[in-house]
C-alpha cells in the first residue's frame, strides 16, 4: 500500500480595499502649484491700478492675468473667485475706456 498524501493548499488572496485620500498639501506645500494664486493676486492689483490711476494697459494686463489664473486653476477651486476676478478686470477695462475713449498709445 502506498500512502499518497495530497496536500492541497488553496490560498485565497487576502487583500483590503483602501479608499483614496487626497494628499495633504498643508504639510507638504511643495506639492501645490502656486501659479493660479499668484496670477489671481496680480490680476486684482492690476485691476485696481487700472481703475484708480486710469491706466488702460494695467486693465488689459489684469484681463490676461485672470485668464492665466483660470487656465492653471484646479478643478476643486471655487468658481466664484474666478468669476469675481474676471468681472473686476473687465470692469477695469470698461471704466478706463468710458473715462477716456482715446485709443491706447504704445510705449515706444
Amino acid at each position: 500500500m502506498y500512502w499518497i498524501t495530497v496536500v492541497a493548499h488553496l490560498t485565497y488572496p487576502i487583500y483590503c480595499l483602501t479608499s483614496y485620500k487626497p494628499p495633504n498639501t498643508e504639510t507638504n506645500p511643495t506639492l501645490e502649484d502656486p501659479t493660479p494664486d499668484y496670477m489671481n493676486l496680480l490680476g486684482m492689483i492690476f485691476s485696481m491700478c487700472g481703475l484708480m490711476l486710469k491706466l488702460k494697459w494695467c486693465a488689459w494686463i489684469a484681463v490676461y492675468c485672470s485668464f492665466i489664473s483660470f487656465a492653471n486653476s484646479r478643478s476643486s477651486e471655487d468658481t466664484k473667485q474666478m468669476m469675481s476676478s474676471f468681472m473686476l478686470s473687465i470692469s477695469a477695462v470698461v471704466m478706463s475706456y468710458l473715462q477716456n475713449p482715446q485709443p491706447m498709445s504704445p510705449p515706444w
Binding site: 483590503c16 479608499s19 483614496y20 484681463v63 492653471n72 484646479r74 485709443p103
Partner: protein, 487 residues
Amino acid sequence: MCVGFQELRFTLLVYTINIRVSLGRYNDDFDDGEDIAEFDDNDFAEFEDVSEDPAVDVEKEPPPRAAPSSTPIEDEEDEATVENEDGQDEFEDADAQDQDMYSKYDNEEFEGHEKTNPSFKDTLIYREVPAHLQNSWESYYMEILMVTGLLAYIMNYIIGKNKNSRLAQAWFNSHRELLESNFALVGDDGTSKEATSTGKLNQENEHIYNLWCSGRVCCEGMLIQLKFLKRQDLLNVLARMMRPVCDQVQVKVTLNDEDMDTFVFAVGSRKAMARLQKEMQDLSEFCGDKPKSGAKYGIPESLSILSEMGEVTDGVMDSKMVHYLTSHADKIESIHFSDQFSGPKVMQEEGQPLKLPETKKTLLFTFNVPGMGNTSPKDMDSLLPLMNMVIYSIDKLKKLRLNREGKQKADRNRARVEENFLKQTHAQRQEAAQTRREEKKRAEKERIMNEEDPDRQRRLEEAAQRREQKKLEKKQMKMKQIKVKAM
C-alpha cells in the same frame, strides 16, 4: 439882456433839432414799409442804438453847431476872425478830439489789435481731429492686438485641454486591462465614504489626472498621476519652446508594514539621481555616497544607482529587472524604493521640526512619456511594459529579505539617524518641556487661587509644597550620584 435871449434861442434850437432827428428816424423805419402797429416806442427804446447816434450826433453837432452858432454871435460882435479861428480851432479840435476818441476807442477796445491783424498771406493751421472722434478703427490698433491675443489664448486653451484629455484617455484605455486584472478597485475619487470603483480617471487639473488603485495582495494602494504639460496655458507653451520638457507618469505604491524589508534604494538618470539625493529626506540620510554608474550591474551608463548597501543593489538588480531597465532606459526618470519615505525635505521657518517626519514604505516610479512634448495618443502604448515592471517590483520586494548582517546594518543606520535628529532638536525639546512645566504650575496655582474654601486651599498649597520638596530632594540625590561616579 441880449445874451440871455440868445442863449434861450440856442437851447430851443437844440431841442427842436433833437425832436426832428428822432422823428426822422422814426420816419425811416416807416419808410421800410413795415406796419405802424408793430412798432412801439418802448419796444425799440432798448434795442435801438438811435439814442447813441443822436447822442453822438448831438455831441458832434453841439460843437459844430456851437461853432457856427457862436460865429454869427461873434460876427455880430465883430470879433469874427479870432473867434472863427477859435471856432475852427474848436471844430478842428473837435474833429481831432473825435479822431483821438476813435483811436482811443479802438485801442481800448482791441488791445494788440495792430499786432494780431491777420493777413491773408499767413497759412492756416489745421489741428488734428482727436483719434476717438475720427471714424476709423485703425487708430485702435493696440486694442485690436490685445483682443487678438486674448482670442489666441482662448483657442490655445481649448486645443491644449482637448489634447491632454485625449492623451489621458489613450493611456487609460491601454492600461485598463492590466490594472483591472491586478487590482480590485480601479479609480476612486475619495468623495464617497466607502471605497467604490469608478473605473475612470480623476481630473485634478487641466493637465493632471489621478488614478487610485487598491485591493491587491501585499500593497495598500497605488496612486498613478499623469502629469502632462500645461498645454492649455499659452505662456507655458511659449516657455516650452525655449526649454523642451516631456510629459511624466508618476506611480506611487504604498506597501503594508510587513510587505517590505528595511532598506533604501534608487536608480534613474544621472541628473535625476543627483537632484533626488539633495531633495529627498531619506536618500540624503541613508544614501550618503555619490550615485554609482549602472554599468557595473549591466544597465546603461546613462542610469546611476543610489543604495544604502551593496546587498540591496544585488538583491534588486536581478536579470529581469536589468532587462526592463536596459530596454526602457530612455523612458525611466527615477525608481525609488524606501521604507523610510517621507517626501522631500521640508524647510521650516521656526527651525527644525520637533518630531521625526512620518514614514511609509513606498515604491515611487517616475516615467517620461516619449515624444518630448509632441506626444501622440499612440505613444501611450509604449508605457505598458513599464506598468508590468511596476507590478513585478511589488511582488519582488515582498519576497526580498536582507540577511542578518544586512538587517543589523540597516537597524544601526536608522538608530544613527534618529540619534542625530534628537541631538539637533535637543535644545528645542528642552525649551518645549520647560514651557510645558511652567504652564502646569500656572494652572495649578490658578486652581488653588480659585478655590473658595480656605481649608481646601490650605491643603492644596501644602500638597504642592510637598511635591516640590520631593522633586528637589530627587535632584540633589542625582547630583550626588553623578559626583560619586565622577570620583
